[in-house]
C-alpha cells in the first residue's frame, strides 16, 4: 500500500513538473522575456553533462531548463544551496520536486554532511545533466563575480564529463535578487564549445574563465545604462 501511495505521489510530481515547464516557464521565457542569441546554441543533447552558467537571477535556471528539449527534463538537476531552498515545506517541495534541484550544503566540510562534490559526481554517474553556477550566489545583478574554484574540483573528479559554458545577460534586470516583480526585457545568451577536464588538465580553470570573458564581450547591449 505504502509503495503504491509513493508511486502515485512521485508520478503526480513528475506530471506537475512537466506542466510547470510547459505551461508556465516556456511561455514566460520565450514570450514575456524573449532571448537574443549571440552564438550558435551549444547545450547537452544527452545525460552526463554539466552546464556552467553565470548567476544573476532565479530565472537563470528557468531559461537554461527551457532551452533544453523536454525529453531531457527528467535528467536535469540544478545544483543549489540546501539551506536557501529547504527553508520551509512548500519551498522545499517546489525546489526538490518541481525544479528538481540537487541540494548541497555550503561551506560545511565537517564530514557530517555529504561532500557536495561527491553528491554531484554521484548524480553524474546516474546520467544526470547538472546546472552549475560557479559564482556561488546570485551576487550583484549583472556583475559577474569571480568564478569559484568548486567547478574545477568537480571537473577534476569527473575528467571525461563534457562541460557546457553559457553566459546569460539581462535576467538580473528582469528579476534581480530580492525582487519579486518581473519586468520584461529581452535577454542575451551566448554559448561556448563544450570542454572537459581531460582536454585541458591544469589549464582547465583558466580556459573556462577565458571562455566566459569571451562570451561576456560578445554581447553589446547595455546593462542598465544609467547607474
Amino acid at each position: 500500500m505504502n509503495t503504491l501511495k509513493q508511486n502515485i505521489l512521485k508520478a503526480s510530481n513528475t506530471v506537475l513538473r512537466f506542466l510547470f515547464f510547459i505551461v508556465i516557464v516556456r511561455p514566460l521565457v520565450k514570450i514575456v522575456i524573449g532571448l537574443r542569441y549571440h552564438s550558435p546554441i551549444n547545450l547537452p543533447k544527452n545525460g552526463k553533462a554539466i552546464v556552467v552558467a553565470n548567476h544573476n537571477s532565479h530565472l537563470d535556471t528557468m531559461v537554461l531548463i527551457s532551452m533544453m528539449p523536454l525529453r531531457l527534463l527528467s535528467k536535469i538537476q540544478p545544483v543549489a544551496a540546501a539551506d536557501y531552498f529547504t527553508k520551509n515545506r512548500w519551498v522545499k517541495w517546489f525546489a526538490l520536486k518541481i525544479i528538481g534541484i540537487l541540494p548541497i550544503v555550503r561551506n560545511k566540510m565537517d564530514g557530517k554532511s555529504d561532500n557536495p562534490i561527491e553528491l554531484c559526481k554521484e548524480a553524474l554517474e546516474h546520467g544526470k545533466i547538472l546546472i552549475f553556477f560557479p559564482e556561488g550566489s546570485r551576487g550583484e545583478p549583472e556583475k559577474m563575480s569571480e568564478l569559484k574554484y568548486g567547478i574545477t574540483k568537480l571537473a577534476k573528479e569527473c575528467p571525461e564529463v563534457s562541460i557546457y559554458p553559457v553566459y546569460l545577460h539581462g535576467l538580473g534586470k528582469v528579476m534581480p535578487k530580492g525582487d519579486a516583480v518581473l519586468v520584461p526585457f529581452f535577454c542575451d545568451i551566448a554559448f561556448s564549445e563544450p570542454m572537459s577536464f581531460q582536454q585541458y588538465q591544469a589549464d582547465f580553470f583558466e580556459v573556462l574563465k577565458a571562455s566566459f570573458e569571451q562570451m561576456h564581450d560578445s554581447i553589446k547591449y547595455p546593462d542598465w545604462g544609467y547607474e
Binding site: 537574443r36 526585457f185 529581452f186
Partner: protein, 328 residues
C-alpha cells in the same frame, strides 16, 4: 470573419498582388542562389536575402489573417507588436535600476491604450499617453526616490511610450476610424465595414514598399548620402526613387482602398515616403547611439520588430490625422 466579402474585395485584390509579388521574389531568390552555388561562395549575402523574404511571408500571413478576422483581432495584433517593440526599446536604451517598477507601469499602459482603441474612444486614445502617462510616470519615478539621471530616464521612458505604443496604436485605430459615430458595436459580431481594414492596408503597403523602393533605387542610383553620420546607406537617389514610386502607388491604390481621389493619394504617397524616411533614420540614430546594429532578432534577415516598424512609427500618425481631418 465579421467582414462582408463583397466590401473586402479591394483588400483581397491587394493581398493577391502582394502574394504574387513575393512569390516572384522567392523564385528569383531561389535561382540566384542556385547560380551562386555553382559559381562559388554566395556566402552570407544570399542567406540574408532568403531569410528576409521568408520573414516577409510570415509578416504578410499574420497581417492578412488579422485583417480577415476583424477589427478586434487586428487591435490585439498591434497591442502585441507594441509590447514587443517597447521591450526592444527598453532593452537597447539606458534605463535605471530604480525605475524597474516604473517600467512595469509603462508596460501596463499598452492594454489600456488599446482598450481605448477597441471601444473607439478617440478623445482618450489621443491624449492618454501624451497627457496622462506623461503626468503619471514622473510621479511614480519620484516615489521611487532616485534623482540621479532623473530627467534622462524620464525622457527616455516617455519617448519609448510615444514611439512604440502611441504611434503604433494609430495603426489599430485606423481600423475603427470609419465606424466613428456609426454606432456599431465592434464586439457583438455584426458585419462591419471593411473601410478601416482597407485604410490600414493602404498605409502599411505604402510604407513598407517605400522602404523597399528606397533601398533598391538607393542601390541603383544612390551616390550622395543625405545623413552620412547617421546612416550612410540612405542616399539622395534612394529618397527620390522612393518618393516617385510611393507617390505613384499611392495614386494607384487611392481609389480602391481609401476615400481619396488619385491626386490626393499621390500627395499622401509623397508624405508617407518622406515620413517613412525620417522614421527610418531616426531609428538608425537611436541604434547608433546605443552602439548596436539591430534592435533584436525576432525577424530573421530584418533584425528586430523595431527595425521593420521604424518607418511606420512616423507614417502612422501622419496618415491617420490626414484621414481623420479630411474624411472621418
Amino acid at each position: 470573419m465579421i467582414f462582408d466579402f463583397a466590401t473586402m474585395l479591394p483588400v483581397f485584390k491587394v493581398f493577391f498582388a502582394l502574394v504574387v509579388f513575393l512569390s516572384l521574389a522567392t523564385v528569383t531568390c531561389f535561382f540566384i542562389n542556385k547560380r551562386k552555388a555553382v559559381t562559388a561562395d554566395g556566402g552570407s549575402m544570399k542567406n540574408e536575402l532568403q531569410l528576409r523574404i521568408n520573414s516577409w511571408w510570415v509578416m504578410i500571413g499574420v497581417f492578412g489573417l488579422s485583417l480577415l478576422f476583424g477589427p478586434i483581432t487586428t487591435i490585439y495584433l498591434f497591442a502585441i507588436l507594441s509590447f514587443v517593440a517597447l521591450k526592444e526599446y527598453f532593452s537597447m536604451t539606458p534605463t535605471r535600476k530604480a525605475d524597474r517598477q516604473v517600467l512595469f507601469w509603462a508596460y501596463l499602459i499598452i492594454p489600456l491604450q488599446y482598450y481605448w482603441v477597441a471601444i473607439g474612444w478617440y478623445g482618450m486614445f489621443i491624449i492618454f499617453i501624451p497627457i496622462y502617462a506623461f503626468l503619471f510616470m514622473p510621479f511614480r519615478m519620484v516615489l521611487a526616490g532616485e534623482t540621479k539621471n532623473y530627467l534622462k530616464a524620464a525622457s527616455n521612458i516617455h519617448w519609448g511610450l510615444m514611439l512604440t505604443v502611441f504611434t503604433l496604436s494609430h495603426l489599430a485605430f485606423l481600423v475603427v476610424l470609419p465606424l466613428q459615430g456609426a454606432e456599431v458595436e465592434l464586439t457583438n459580431g455584426l458585419r462591419v465595414s471593411s473601410e478601416g481594414a482597407a485604410l490600414l492596408l493602404y498605409l502599411v503597403v505604402l510604407t513598407q514598399l517605400n522602404d523597399v523602393s528606397q533601398f533598391i533605387s538607393g542601390k541603383l542610383f544612390g551616390h550622395t548620402p543625405i545623413t552620412p553620420t547617421v546612416s550612410p546607406n540612405k542616399t539622395r537617389g534612394g529618397l527620390i526613387g522612393g518618393l516617385i514610386f510611393t507617390g505613384l502607388l499611392g495614386a494607384l491604390l487611392a481609389n480602391s482602398l481609401t476615400p481619396m481621389v488619385w491626386w490626393q493619394g499621390m500627395l499622401v504617397g509623397f508624405g508617407i515616403s518622406l515620413a517613412g524616411f525620417i522614421g527610418d533614420i531616426s531609428m538608425s540614430a537611436i541604434k547608433r547611439d546605443a552602439g548596436i546594429k539591430d534592435t533584436g532578432q525576432l525577424l530573421p534577415g530584418h533584425g528586430g520588430i523595431l527595425d521593420r516598424l521604424d518607418s511606420l512609427t512616423f507614417t502612422a500618425p501622419l496618415f491617420f490625422h490626414l484621414m481623420h481631418y479630411y474624411f472621418y
